[in-house]
Amino acid sequence: MKKIIKSVSHPKIFVYTVIWLMVLTVLGTLAQRNIGLYASQQKYFSSYITWLGDTIPAPGGRITMIIILVNLASMLFKHNIWKLKKAGIIIVHLGAVLLFIGAGVTAIFSSEGNMVIDEGAHSNYVDDYHSMELAIVNTSKENLDEYTVFDQPLLINGNRLSHESLDFVIEIIEYYNNCKVQRRTEPADIRYKGMMKNFDLVELNLEKENVQNRSGIVYKIENSDSTNDGVYGLILGQSVTQTATINNQNFEFLFRKKRTYLPFSIELLDFKKVLHAGTGIAKSYSSEINLIENGIPRRVLIQMNEPLRHRGYTFFQSSFIEAPEGEATVLAAVKNYGRLFPYISSIIMAVGLLLHLFINLPKLL
């Protein structure tokens, strides 16, 4: 056991993994110029294995950081380390272990998205930045709309989707991460329905900024009836809703950013943009909102560097939309169970380093 700990905790392992982490950092930074932040982050840092030049497999950011974490943590089990003289060092390493654990929690459990709210309107859901969903709404029930939602992991080419609330089966034919609508030059096959009768979806190369990508989906409805069975297409931000009447039930088909509903809603009272006097440089942005929970509103001012924290969610002033019909605020919403880790670990590490400096500095000067 001692032997294992000794070899696992050897600082040389740390040195070599840190060198590799630096290589990844440099590559991941340079890559942002070409493929954008999101893609580069996915490729180098949020991956277990990264493919160098798309051919050679190498440890990705996650594996590298797990090795460092194991190396650091096992170091705390060494016997000869627990000495007063090394108290500072132990504390620093403990803080670092916490930092990495926090990073792990964040990487796995955090979710982020945004809310777009017009002035005077309110919203109770968050749009995911990256994930999509296919929602099928049964609008023929009295008093309520029945939603059946398929998340992005299910939207894979060839996947067949069915649910007890639906009398029909959906088969995903094509999922595009980025595509555009193109008018057909010749009449389409009879199989094509809805928008696909006159238009087609054409796949595009991925944009650098992930938000500029427009996802699209081509799917087939089966086992309904002869008028509705066929191939349909949907694209993100489509202006005309795709509807169908199947077995006397009215359905709407929505392809949109994955929504997470909140146990409260937010009403935008006023969005303000203040400029430095006589210039076009923004001095501050702020949204005056009502946080409505159980029907009771509470006034909150969200501004740069002053987010609203509520029920594990944090809402930040992220952007805004100025249109002739009015202003809208864009709030970034984040739920991160790991967000306290860096705060705690930074305090621990600072204390440890200071302690170490105090113990050893006289010797070093």
Partner: protein, 621 residues
């Protein structure tokens, strides 16, 4: 040491006395770039953009003299004064000018006619995005904008300049003017309603029947019409807003000439300015003095958001004395004295060198402090300020090192890097106003004070470590057998590295926390974040390599020299990528300097490392 300390105290006490000046025209508040600044700063910044310097050197004109000369006589200012400094031969050629002109300085009119000939090209460049423009196109466009602004400045007070002479006795009386003296547009349009009767009478007669009075009136009206063609020249925002205004946007005199009603404070300032210009035009010192006093009263009568007189004077004083130039002079002196003390060995030279370094640091600190007072924000918020602050950090470290070691090591580090960093900052200052406003996300004094200051201190400490690394290797070459001295330097190097690591690590984590507060994520692999991370990782690697014996002291020294490259890339290189949330300003031309610096460090670092190794081997043999 005692001697220098007493000297220092005496010096510090005299500092506040040098800057309690009376209010004068340099202090006239003007709004530009989102803040109220003294006219002196405004004039200097404009001149810097046109001419490349803060005063017209070849004619011995100060920025204030230049701007008032231009305003009082725009024709002459455009025809005679050579203030357009064009350094690019391509641009000069495209404007149809001669490169033979030795200092490449041109007058407005020749530049302007060149620009007019190129108008098609310029509007084509203007229509494109900045990334697609080549260097020549950027420069041409910049000169076009400069020329436009120059013209605007030249005429933006033309409504207040004494320009029209009234000679007819009747008109003199009606228009409330003095025989033989010119009056301004603003003055005349106030009294024009009083002569509407004369005008109406005149219109009923034919031109031959006009009296002398009427003939002169027509002449005056034509002149006024000509002057009013400048009403779009609104570059000088000298007039405070109405008390009802909520945006805080100041106005130019021409904006008040559109017939709107003036508020008392606006009127006072307008009239005082008019009087000052008249006094200056007539060379009447007393009139200028009394106008300045009126101006001061006018400013004091501003109902809300009154500009701070103390700060206006302070900033003007800072422009004047340029504390950082004095500071660099002391650093240079410290270096020279240190050199002499090495050659001829007397101890007192070294003490004076130390005092000189400390004096330089005092000026340096005072300069940083005054910038903080003027802007009301922590020391570092722009790249320029980070350079000054890193220089400050390095010298502070050097002073402490010298105090502890007393062998000239600290003096060498402080004087050399203090000087170099000052010169780098002068290069940045030459780009324009260094006291700019900040974009919304940076507008947080708390985080600027904690994260940015800590990380900048970290840069400074890292550079000191790199410097000591160089000195270690040099010492290893000079005296490879002197192991106690080498051990000593190594210990210092390791200690400084730990401090640098602490600052860099803590600064980076604070940055993460700020990012968590304002963008909702602690870490986003943004280039600037990655740059800071690289510094931390590199230093962690070096510390662990040393602890495991993977690196010997000499190797550690080399590693910390290489750390300088990492620091400089993280510091300046990120903006070159031009991606990410942190790239607030694109700096061109930096790439070459970065590459040169990296090459220099690589060559000297590895060169001295292997040389030191071979010296050691020879000793063992």
């Amino acid at each position: 040491m005692k001697f220098s300390f007493r000297f220092l105290m005496a010096f510090l006490l005299t500092l506040p006395m040098v800057n309690g000046k009376e209010f004068d025209e340099r202090h006239f508040p003007i709004q530009e770039g989102g803040r109220i600044k003294p006219l002196d700063t405004f004039a200097r910044n404009q001149l810097l953009a046109f001419y490349g310097k803060r005063s017209v050197k070849h004619e011995g004109l100060s920025a204030m003299d230049w701007i008032f000369n231009l305003i009082l006589d725009p024709e002459k200012g455009q025809e005679v004064t050579k203030v357009f400094n064009i350094r690019s031969p391509e641009v000069v050629a495209s404007l149809g000018l001669a490169w033979t002109n030795n200092d490449h300085k041109y007058v407005f009119n020749e530049v302007f006619s060149g620009l007019q000939a190129q108008f098609g090209l310029i509007s084509e460049i203007h229509s494109r995005k900045d990334e697609t423009r080549i260097s020549f196109e950027r420069q041409l466009l910049e000169i076009y904008f400069n020329a436009t602004r120059f013209r605007e400045i030249a005429y933006s007070l033309s409504c207040l300049v004494p320009a029209v002479s009234v000679n007819d006795p009747i008109l003199i009386e009606k228009l409330n003017s003095i025989p033989g003296k010119r009056v301004s547009y603003a003055h005349l349009i106030k009294y024009i309603p009083l002569i509407s009767e004369i005008y109406r009478n005149m219109m009923e007669k034919s031109e031959e029947e006009w009296s002398n009075t009427e003939k002169e009136l027509i002449k005056i009206l034509l002149e006024l019409q000509k002057i009013s063609s400048n009403e779009t020249a609104q570059a000088l925002k000298l007039i405070p807003p109405s008390h009802l205004d909520k945006t805080g946007t100041w106005l130019s005199p021409w904006e008040l000439m559109d017939g709107r009603s003036h508020e008392p404070h606006q009127d006072k300032i307008l009239i005082a300015l008019e009087k000052y210009l008249a006094g200056r035009y007539e060379g009447d010192k007393d009139k200028m003095m009394s106008a300045i006093e009126d101006y001061r009263v006018g400013i004091l009568s501003i109902p809300n958001a009154k500009p701070d007189m103390y700060l206006l004077k302070k900033e003007t004083w800072v422009n004047e004395v340029n504390l950082f130039y004095t500071s660099v002079a002391f650093y240079l002196l410290a270096f020279i004295l240190l050199g002499f003390s090495r050659m001829i060995q007397p101890k007192w030279l070294k003490i004076i060198s130390y005092v000189s370094l400390i004096l330089g640091l005092v000026y340096h600190t005072y300069g940083i402090y005054l910038r903080m007072v003027i802007m009301g924000r922590p020391p570092v918020s722009t790249l320029y300020e980070s350079i000054i602050f890193v220089g400050f950090t390095v010298v502070v470290f050097a002073v402490v090192i010298e105090y502890l070691r007393r062998d000239g090591l600290g003096l060498f580090i402080g004087s050399v890097s203090g000087t170099i960093l000052h010169y780098v900052s002068f290069g940045y200052a030459a780009d324009g106003d260094t006291l700019g406003m900040l974009v919304a996300v940076l507008n947080s004094n708390f985080w600027l004070a904690t994260h940015v200051t800590t990380i900048t201190l970290g840069y400074g400490a890292s550079l000191v470590a790199g410097f000591v690394g160089h000195l270690y290797l040099i010492q290893a070459i000079r005296e490879p057998h002197n192991s106690s001295s080498l051990k000593d330097i190594h210990k210092n190097l390791f200690g400084i590295t730990l401090i640098a690591l602490f600052l860099a690590l803590f600064g980076t984590i604070l940055g993460g926390i700020w990012a968590d507060q304002s963008w909702g994520r602690f870490w986003g692999w943004d280039p600037k974040e990655n740059g800071a991370l690289l510094i931390v990782l590199w230093q962690l690697m070096m510390v662990h390599m040393r602890l495991t014996g993977l690196a010997k002291p000499a190797g550690f020294a080399l590693g910390m020299i290489m750390n300088n490259i990492v620091v400089v890339i993280a510091w300046f290189g990120v903006n070159l990528l031009n991606v990410g949330l942190h790239s607030y300003g694109f700096t061109s031309g930096v790439a070459l300097n970065l590459a040169l610096f990296a090459a220099l460090e690589l060559i000297t670092g590895f060169g001295t490392y292997y040389w030191a190794q071979s010296r050691k081997e020879r000793l063992i043999v």
